[in-house]
């Protein structure tokens, strides 16, 4: 596919993006902001919102890709109050920065999303859980929430509908594991943010033992648009049959123009890299990419044309994750990169379960041996066995952590073996 064939795709989430400033409430309103919410509150039917979200096939954009509508619907009708909506702005997946871009582009989009989600779940509290690195974003949100409050969009009796919802910003102390929904709930309650294996699910017993909906920033940002334009419209945005809506791709690594690009679901990987991100830097060759953050497996060059949506990647055994496309070119040693990723994961493990706490450093050390050329076929076998066993860890962190390793072993075994055979890194 060459650049002249590419179409101009509609911009939805980032339509109010300015390179140098944040979109104001007015700007947002001009682009149709708060229309969805007004309509929803006017209709006064939370169930309807849930149904629309389900019909729109809106999958959670935080990585797990759980249908947002379905999550809302798991809250029992007679579940106790108060209920909570937690906006997960704790994106700590390496390579991912879409939430920051979304907040900086259009904070009201998120606020509206939270209120919509809150109304759908009949929640009275919205909490934006934000990582400490995004202090600036947290301040923006706090400021814009006040603006919204003064406009009657947040707080008591929103848009005179009788619906009350408070939104607060909660700053995290900063840990990768806090991005996990159950761990995030623990963090909010002021206990150690270890994940908690369901059941009970957060939608049954979450924050303070009340029903809690945890949604990613991007997921919440999609909601106003869905409510305004309908489920069908959202589905039609995607290029592929199975996808729905647009996706904010964070492209980074060996590309000319790293950054966030909002593209339809199912846009081919090659197009993202070659066209939107300006191709490989310094005329290099595409070697592999991590399609959805550090906890996904390497996509090799043979799948350069793969449509980037949840379903297509799943069929090939990959995950779209957060759609953080990290590109590596021919000069990069993937073993070394994996060691870096493992270093990150070993450091960020919460220390709860054995495979993750002690197994990841073990795998990292083995991987370091391979990288240093001191590995053997036995070392590699050991790594592969341990990676397999990581899938029996407590939460999804450990399987995510070994995904790049397993991807490496599956697609780039030659490169690994080269380290063993040459007794060192062939790229150094």
């Amino acid at each position: 596919m060459s650049s002249q064939e590419t179409k101009k795709y509609p911009s939805v989430l980032l339509q109010n993006r300015h390179p140098d400033r944040i979109a104001t409430l007015d700007e947002y309103r001009r682009s149709g902001g708060y229309e969805g919410l007004t309509a929803l509150l006017g209709a006064g039917n939370p169930k309807q919102a849930q149904q629309v979200l389900l019909d729109a096939n809106l999958l959670g954009r935080g990585g797990a890709a759980f249908p947002a509508g379905k999550k809302m619907m798991t809250i029992a009708e007679n579940a106790p109050f108060p209920r909570y909506v937690v906006c997960n702005a704790d994106e700590m997946e390496p390579g991912t920065f879409k939430d920051r871009v979304l907040i900086f582009a259009d904070p009201h989009q998120l606020i509206e999303g939270i209120v919509i989600a809150g109304y759908a779940a009949r929640a009275s509290h919205g909490i934006i859980f934000i990582r400490p690195e995004y202090e600036q974003a947290a301040r923006i949100m706090e400021r814009e929430i006040e603006v919204a409050r003064s406009e009657g969009l947040v707080g008591r009796n929103i848009l005179q509908s009788g619906y009350d919802m408070e939104i607060v910003v909660h700053r995290s102390g900063g840990r990768y594991i806090c991005g996990e929904a159950t761990a995030q709930i623990n963090a909010l309650m002021g206990v150690r943010p270890n994940p908690k294996q369901p059941p009970p699910y957060p939608t049954t017993k979450g924050l303070w033992q009340r029903p809690t909906v945890v949604q990613n920033v991007e997921t919440l940002c999609c909601m106003p648009h869905i409510l305004r334009n309908g489920a069908q419209w959202f589905g039609s945005l995607a290029l592929t049959e199975n996808g729905a809506g647009t996706k904010v791709f964070c492209v980074s690594g060996r590309v000319e123009r790293p950054g966030c690009y909002e593209l339809p679901m199912g846009v081919p990987l090659k197009e993202i890299v070659e066209v939107h991100a300006g191709g490989i830097k310094n005329g290099g060759r595409f070697k592999a990419c991590l399609p959805g953050g550090a906890s996904t497996a390497f996509v090799p060059a043979r799948l350069y044309d793969i449509p980037m949506d949840y379903e297509s990647l799943k069929q090939e055994g990959f995950r779209l994750g957060t759609a953080a496309v990290m590109v590596f070119d021919h000069s990069d040693c993937l073993v070394d990169a994996t060691v870096n990723l493992l270093d990150f994961f070993a450091r960020e493990s919460c220390g709860w379960c054995t495979p993750c706490r002690d197994g990841l450093p073990y795998i990292r050390d083995l991987m370091k041996r391979v990288e240093a050329g001191r590995g053997s076929t036995e070392t590699i076998e050991k790594i592969e066995t341990m990676c397999r066993h990581m899938w029996s860890a407590y939460c999804a962190f450990a399987p995510g952590a070994v995904s790049p390793v397993q991807g490496l072993m599956a697609e780039f075994k030659d490169e690994v073996m080269a380290h063993v055979e040459q007794g060192g890194c062939p790229f150094k």
């Binding site: 920065f97 690195e133 202090e135 309650m189 550090a294 990290m326 990723l341 960020e348």
Partner: protein, 158 residues
Amino acid sequence: MIPEPTLSHLKDRIAAADHPRELVVDVMFALQEHYGYLSDEAVETTGALLGMSPLQVEELATFYTFLYREPVGRYVIHLCDSVICWLDGAESLRDHLCRKLKIEMGRTTPDGLFTLLPVCCIGYCDRSPAMLVNRKVYGPLTPEKVDELLEKLKQESE
């Protein structure tokens, strides 16, 4: 001791909260702001304010990255060492910083100005290699830019 306004502000917030414990991170940040780092005294104060034992506060304080249980310098430099920044030369940048400040990672310069800490991906992969100085982002960095920044900070502090 913590200044009375800060303390009373915290107390008000705690009194207003449905669940005082949910403010523990905020209280710790506030006290960290005051002490420069989260001292033992700050931990104990946090516990006392929220009805928790010092240990229960410590359980959280030692968990999070941005709560410093050891004294830090005036400028805390968090250098991202995750994969994209690493790809773009974070390691050489780290070595440059260590050389320049004459400290190892995790240490504070003798003049108490800079503390050098690694951090996992800070979400500025489009501006790699990046770092935070007192939670403000700088990137993409080169050794020259770093030198410039350090000079600026040094002057600021005087």
